[in-house]
Symmetry: C2
Subunit: 306 residues, 2 copies
């Protein structure tokens, strides 16, 4: 079943403790679309790129069957992020953000993209998220991500978006900030009250929590264990992309909690591949068989007898 992934498409310049690379494919929509395309076809991508955007990155997205009919080509410079990971990969410093073409972007969906039933609003301004959603004429399942910037400078607009979501996926630190509590379990429950029936709190190296209806519907998903993390950029976007890609493929626009759990596990494992190389370099080579194999391992790693 068709799926729309909207969000940022970026040029990333990344430094890790062991290597540096510039001109990399980045952005919430790029990671999520690649992750979703593993499980679902067609994936429509809505975003904006500038005149300087490398053709190789566009070719890569095309080669995965991702529909770029809602990807705007603008005369300005592309959105860029320049950052550095420290010895502890959980800590990173943003050196530079070039908003550029994102500044005045008004998403325009193609006729096909506006008819999808599954919609992902990747991390971007709540205004852009709302503009995308307003053009979706057949949306039945809507998922979104956000970040501290929007919680701080566009809180009211973000609350408007929240009311229209079926699923919010958010980082642990940002969940606490948005919910106004330091307890993660309480944070998830409080965020549900802002609108989305389902909330996923991403816990980085520890995995994620999924909250559904009532105390019964709770899922603690462990992360696939990695002995070394090369570049975690885009792991959260790959997580949500994998999740919604799996859901769209299942064709269940009213997924059960059991479906949501399976989707979370798929998202989690998909994200683990993203961490293993710069940018999308590992993600773009992943096969469904590799995902299944890690899912089997994750099941084995989390099972216990009483």
């Amino acid at each position: 079943m068709s799926l729309l992934i909207s969000g940022t498409v970026a040029i990333d310049n990344i430094k890790t403790p062991t290597a540096t690379q510039e001109g990399l494919l980045g952005g919430s929509a790029a990671y999520a679309a690649l992750a979703a395309s593993l499980f679902c076809k067609p994936v429509h991508l809505a975003g904006v790129i500038g005149h300087d955007f490398p053709k190789a990155h566009v070719d890569l997205l095309n080669s995965k069957g991702i529909k770029l009919d809602s990807l705007e080509h603008n005369d300005g410079e592309s959105f860029t992020w320049t950052g550095e990971y420290h010895e502890d990969m959980n800590n990173r410093t943003t050196h530079k953000v070039g908003i550029n073409v994102l500044e005045n972007w008004k998403p325009q969906l193609s006729a096909d993209a506006s008819q999808v039933k599954f919609v992902m609003l990747g991390n971007m301004s709540p205004d852009n998220q709302m503009q995308v959603l307003d053009q979706c004429q057949a949306a039945e399942f809507v998922a979104a991500d956000t970040m501290d910037l929007w919680i701080n400078i566009a809180n009211e607009r973000l609350h408007d978006v929240m009311k229209r979501l079926d699923l919010l996926v958010i980082n642990d630190g940002e969940a606490k900030e948005f919910a106004g509590t330091t307890n993660l379990v309480e944070a998830g429950r409080l965020l549900q009250k802002k609108g989305p029936r389902y909330v996923v709190v991403k816990r980085g190296e520890h995995g994620s929590y999924l909250f559904g209806d009532g105390a019964e519907e709770f899922f603690a998903c462990s992360a696939y264990p990695l002995e070394s993390v090369f570049d975690p950029t885009g792991a959260g976007d790959s997580f949500l992309g994998g999740m919604i890609g799996w859901l769209a493929n299942s064709r269940k626009t009213k997924p059960s909690f059991v479906d949501l759990k399976t989707a979370v596990a798929h998202g989690s494992v998909t994200a683990s591949f993203t961490c293993e190389a710069f940018s999308t370099q590992r993600l773009e080579k992943v096969t469904v068989e590799e995902v299944k194999s890690r899912l089997e391992e994750l099941k084995h790693y989390t099972a216990f007898a009483m």
Copy 2:
């Protein structure tokens, strides 16, 4: 099967964002012995208390069938810890530590205590841990905890202890420090090389990781989800006490990895109760049925279909 729990027995003064209480029962051996006594009888406790130690605390330990024949009564003042938890319960400040009777303590095991097959060396100086171990004449399974203080000031002696352990249980931050890496999975594997066949890395609110033989033997245990944490003091000690209590009760001095996983799950759930009230006030009321019930929930909360 009989079990020896050694470590500190303390008077704690604790402040949380909502309440303050003084003269509380604390210390690694006190929490662990109470947790272990849920699953196993008899539990021998080796520790030291001063002239000012409240009789009510001794009575409580006695009432749980904990054998105090290796608990030294000293003329000095009891070991005390005074600390404060902040709004985010993951952060605490130590205001005062009174070493007192611990300063010159030389553990002396009773004849019965020296014959146990299961030994827990709770968090105390590596010298004290070694002194206990040297008196154990029939030890077949030895588990220990430690902390940053000993990693920093008694590193060599701690390495001597490590060589004699079957199981090390350690906090995530301390595991990274002791192993010299910022990756938790790598940290667990590196700590195994220092001696213990099994390593558990405690991840606070996120649960724990258990490492066994080779990549196959890995267990990610989620924490039982708590929407509010009242006082997390002693959760780690309750975890290890619950674990080794369950192992001792199983009578398997050569437990399989499946046994270790079950022990970790029992320790994790036992620790969740400790967090729900000051000191041991919730832990001392827990029943085996309540533990089983939370284990069932934890199983439900972590299962997923592929």
